[in-house]
């Protein structure tokens, strides 16, 4: 897909989000509420324990705010493929001379861009003013690379889960599993530093911590440059592995696809 077509798909998807305005106000409040809850919890915990897991009371608040803002900005509609297979409209995507993967990525991109602009940034600004957030400027270049990687990893995880609809009619159980893993093992709520030392090496073998923990830790300066580079390399490796999995699933799934409703 050429960049112009990609941008067009993304902008249509972005426009579509604008049409649901009420939804948006609720979602902003909701997002802000989460930031408030998490920062309050960390503050009261740290008031008792003092610095812990390499975090100071200030840096854990920064982590909590940024992790939440990144989560919000990485909003994706992970039911698109499922819905299209379920009602058969996936057929209309397949008649077009565009890559299904690229089209989904572009649409996802437009979707997330809306949530970044409409929710992520406002929530970030308000939270930064209220709770205090420190981002070391020298971390920004590495953090940007890490954020792109994290986004692609999350997208491909969703894409692969969505492709399961080519095999099974109901993918809800897989979705639940995915949500569970994402909530607990991605660092979106609890940074990996607070997991027991026994399990951490195993968690490091999974892609989940590279979605929210890695970019947030790099952005806040929680990990030093050397470690950050290693983490980004791990992200790149995971992105490559997932790209391979998606490609294989797509090829195998084409054979399994049934167009519902004739």
């Amino acid at each position: 897909m050429n960049p112009a077509t990609f941008a067009k798909f993304a902008s249509v998807s972005f426009q579509k989000q604008i049409t649901y305005r009420f939804d948006y106000f609720v979602a902003v409040l909701n997002g802000f509420l989460f930031v408030f809850i998490f920062t309050s919890v960390w503050k009261s915990v740290f008031a008792k324990t003092g610095p812990s897991g390499g975090f100071t009371p200030e840096s854990i608040v920064t982590y909590a705010v940024l992790a939440m803002v990144i989560r919000i900005s990485f909003s994706m509609d992970d039911t698109t493929i499922y819905n299209k297979v379920r009602d058969g409209s996936v057929a209309m995507d397949l008649i077009r001379p565009v890559s299904f993967y690229a089209m989904n990525l572009a649409e996802c991109f437009g979707y997330s861009a809306f949530h970044l602009i409409a929710r992520g940034i406002p929530i970030f600004i308000v939270s930064a003013l209220l709770f205090g957030v420190q981002i070391p400027a020298e971390q920004l270049p590495l953090a940007a690379v890490s954020l792109v990687m994290a986004y692609l990893i999350l997208f491909m995880l969703n894409f692969a889960t969505g492709l399961l609809s080519f095999w099974v009619i109901e993918i809800f159980p897989f979705m639940l599993l995915k949500y569970g893993l994402l909530n607990f093992l991605s660092g979106g709520i609890v940074p990996m530093d607070f997991f027991p030392a026994v399990v951490r090496p195993y968690l490091a073998l999974l892609p989940f911590q590279h979605i929210f923990y890695t970019p947030t830790a790099i952005l806040t300066g929680h990990v030093a440059n050397r470690a950050a580079m290693v983490m980004i390399a791990e992200q790149a490796a995971w992105a490559a592995v997932l790209a391979g999995i998606c490609a294989l699933m797509w090829r195998a799934g084409r054979n399994k696809l049934v167009i519902q409703g004739g």
Binding site: N2, A4, T5, K8, F9, V12, Q15, K16, T19, G88, S89, A91, M92, L94, I95, R96, P97, V98, S99, R254, N255, L257, V258, I259, G261, G262
Partner: protein, 340 residues
């Protein structure tokens, strides 16, 4: 195998679907998790045909005969279980995107328009997707807008269109990139007579003026009679007739229907073996005439001599009734008889 001249070629296409039955209720569903009864259904079961550029082909069959599945293989949506298809020399399911550049597709029951956007935006979107140069695009849009009367619809959101309006917009959407081949899967479904007529005359003109090859599946035999020079009939995944639409009729001339009203009730027809009584009410009789040694006028002459006739009419069966009798297996097409 690929002939340069053919635009579409299907060679022994087969597509099987595996249906797993789930039992009744919760218990049945739970049991199905472990031992699902699997049935293999051959939706398309050895279909072969080739279509030349500029042909307008009707592709018909009962529900579940495999029409849509064939179309989905030719448009690259589905992969065949075996056999091969080529469209413009390309294997559609292997080079889906390349094939997509050369074909237009309308599925009457679905839309390729962007549901949340105004109609105009869909065409704008398609311009990017098919990478159409600005000049070519605006020329084509002008033509389509005029021919399908789209101007009043351009700024309407797609979800507010009526079925007939939506279909016009969908047909235009399938043609923006000037495809050489157009697949229409039930494009007139649910439309009123006038809307159907408009779409038919547009398609006729497209086929005539642009030479676009058109494959049409429909349940409306008027579509076929008015548009398609060639007819392919499908039954249970197999081709049971492939030939000129007109010839289908002439082949059935031996099945003319005669409706006679006699002056008085006739109990049975003696001395006229060519005529078969298929219906009777009062003084009226419906007779089936099978072309044999004697012509129809001769038979009617003899009939009139034997029994005084008040009124008589001779009808040729419509394409619809022929096809219905083919579906119902009350007639077998001669050239396919040996297969049965």
């Amino acid at each position: 195998m690929s002939n340069i001249e053919t635009v579409i070629q299907a060679q022994n296409l087969r597509k099987e679907f595996i249906l797993s039955e789930s039992g009744k209720g919760v218990w049945g569903a739970a049991k199905a998790l472990f031992s699902a009864k699997k049935t293999i259904v051959n939706a398309v079961d050895g279909v072969s045909f080739s279509i030349m550029p500029g042909e307008f082909v009707g592709y018909v069959g009962e529900n579940g005969a495999g029409k849509s599945t064939t179309i989905k293989i030719l448009t690259g949506i589905l992969l065949p279980t075996s056999g091969e298809a080529r469209v413009n020399g390309i294997i559609p399911y292997e080079n889906r995107k390349q094939n997509g550049m050369n074909i237009g597709v309308v599925f009457g029951q679905r839309t390729q328009l962007w549901w949340d956007l105004p109609v105009r935006e869909t065409y704008e979107m398609l311009r990017y997707i098919y990478r159409i140069p600005a000049g070519t695009y605006s020329d084509m849009m002008k033509k389509l807008t005029a021919a399908l009367d789209l101007e009043p619809l351009m700024n309407m959101p797609v979800r507010k269109l009526s079925l007939g309006q939506r279909m016009r917009c969908d047909i235009a959407a399938s043609l923006v990139h000037r495809p050489r081949v157009l697949f229409l899967d039930e494009p007139t479904i649910g439309l009123d007579v006038l809307a159907k007529e408009n779409i038919r005359s547009f398609l006729r003109e497209l086929n005539r003026a642009e030479g676009t090859t058109i494959i049409l599946t429909t349940h409306d035999m008027n579509d076929i009679e008015q548009l398609c020079q060639r007819l392919i009939i499908l039954d249970k995944g197999r081709v049971i007739y492939d030939g000129e639409t007109g010839k289908l009729k002439s082949r059935f001339v031996h099945d003319k229907m005669i409706e006679v009203e006699f002056h008085e009730k006739v109990e049975s027809l003696a001395g006229l073996p060519e005529l078969e009584v298929v219906g009777e009410s009062g003084n009226k009789m419906r007779l089936k005439f099978q072309n044999g040694g004697s012509g129809i006028t001769d038979v009617i002459g003899r009939l009139a001599k034997l029994y005084p006739i008040k009124d008589i009419s001779v009808r040729e069966p419509s394409v619809e009734s022929i096809i219905r009798s083919i579906y119902e297996k009350t007639v077998l097409l001669p050239e396919y008889r040996e297969k049965e």
